[in-house]
């Protein structure tokens, strides 16, 4: 029985939001990821590329040298479709297409295999801006040429059984593309909501009295089985693993059961989203990876 899971473990630099630019730079983060035994590295294009959207040759060379030295594989490049850039109008298909093209090209030059466009929403229940489908379709050939899979993120409070997911699946059906698939953020399975602290900051959504964020029902992990065939990537979102190596928010055993059963061999890319206290991400990522590595072999073994 192997003690290594069939899937691969990566880490998103988003995890280090409380550290990046403060106590860690890009190289420090990459070294931390390698040190904790992960082999994949995920970035946010607009967050972690110095000089975005212009890439200097020196930066590109430094990036490739860094990941090669540490034995890391660039996994996913996070991008945005910022549909609210203008106060008086929303984003056009042409603008959206150009933004996604820009990010696919940058991701390709840096060796990534996945691009996640974070799509603006138009309703209170998070329906994506309708431009998304044409923006994606106009980029499918480019993505194919660049060996990149575009994957919108299914993120709490959107659930797996939703119009958005149905629409994403319909695009695959309609086009027959292999350059588009689902990204599941494991935060959709959260059992309760973690209230994050950010030292020294108060954060407010909206102005004055605002409607509370919708409280969706807990999404059964079982729903994941229905879409596993179209899942190309996992962001292993988590918030807090306690001193007994227990995660009270994300049901890892159940998730890993479905993942192992499906034969998934892609990435689980850790997204730490707990308290943004410097150094906490490094510690929590190690706990999460110890937890996943402890759970995974028995899940795989149960199938054998």
């Amino acid at each position: 029985m192997s003690t290594e899971p069939a899937f691969k473990l990566g880490v998103s630099l988003y995890s280090y939001t409380g550290d990046f630019g403060v106590v860690m730079d890009l190289e420090d983060c990459a070294e931390d990821i390698a040190d904790l035994g992960a082999t994949g590295i995920e970035i946010l294009g607009e967050g972690h590329i110095l000089g975005y959207p212009e890439l200097s040759t020196a930066w590109i060379d430094g990036w490739h040298a860094l990941v090669e030295r540490l034995g890391l594989t660039p996994t996913l490049y996070g991008s945005w479709l910022d549909t609210r850039r203008h106060l008086d109008r929303s984003m056009t298909v042409e603008e959206g297409t150009a933004q996604l093209t820009l990010d696919i090209e940058l991701a390709s030059r840096l060796g990534f295999s996945f691009v996640r466009p974070k799509i603006g929403v138009v309703t209170g229940d998070l329906v994506p801006d309708p431009i998304w489908s044409e923006v994606v379709e106009r980029n499918l050939d480019l993505a194919h040429d660049r060996n990149i899979v575009i994957c919108p993120e299914i993120h709490w409070p959107t659930s797996i059984r939703s119009q958005a997911v149905d629409d994403y699946l319909a695009l695959i059906e309609r086009t027959g593309t292999t350059s588009f698939g689902l990204l599941i953020d494991t935060g959709v399975f959260q059992l309760s909501h973690h209230r994050r602290t950010e030292p020294g900051l108060r954060s407010q959504l909206g102005t004055g009295d605002i409607p509370a964020f919708p409280t969706p029902p807990v999404v059964p992990v079982n729903d994941l089985r229905d879409v596993m065939d179209q899942v190309v990537y996992f962001q292993a979102k988590f918030h807090e693993i306690d001193d007994q190596l227990v995660d009270r928010y994300i049901p890892w055993a159940e998730i890993l059961d479905v993942v192992a059963e499906s034969g998934y061999t892609g990435w689980l890319s850790s997204e730490y989203e707990g308290d943004r206290i410097p150094y906490r991400a490094s510690d929590q990522l190690r706990r999460q990876h110890a937890l996943i590595r402890t759970l995974a072999p028995s899940r795989v073994g149960a199938l054998a």
Binding site: E46, W80, R84, K118, R202, S203, P211
Partner: protein
Amino acid sequence: MPMLEQAMIQAKGFRNAGSGEERTGFEVRIRSPYYRGTWTNLIDGVRVEVDGETFPSESIVWSIEGTDYTAGDLRDSETARWPLTAPATLRVPKPGGLSVGIHDVTVALSFRMSYIPVELQPQTWTASRKATIVR
């Protein structure tokens, strides 16, 4: 890449502008509380308060990587960016400047996030600290 202070309001860069009797205002340096750099037209405004006196967004000039922007410039540019790790200097007009000593400083900074329902926008981060004018 030089590291910034953990606090949104940096101790470094808080100073009077102009010299001697000709103090024209003050400057306060902030780092972005967001997790990514943004196009500047996603910045919805900034409010600075010192010792209870409020300086509104439209009066403040931003300096990012050596370029100055009014609130209108930030809003109207199609290409300007506020990179995640580039501190922004806020130039605040105040004839006479601030007195030497310790001040209560608050900065409230708003962004429009496209991926959150519009009813819950903008998102505003507020930070306060005591900061010192040395001279």
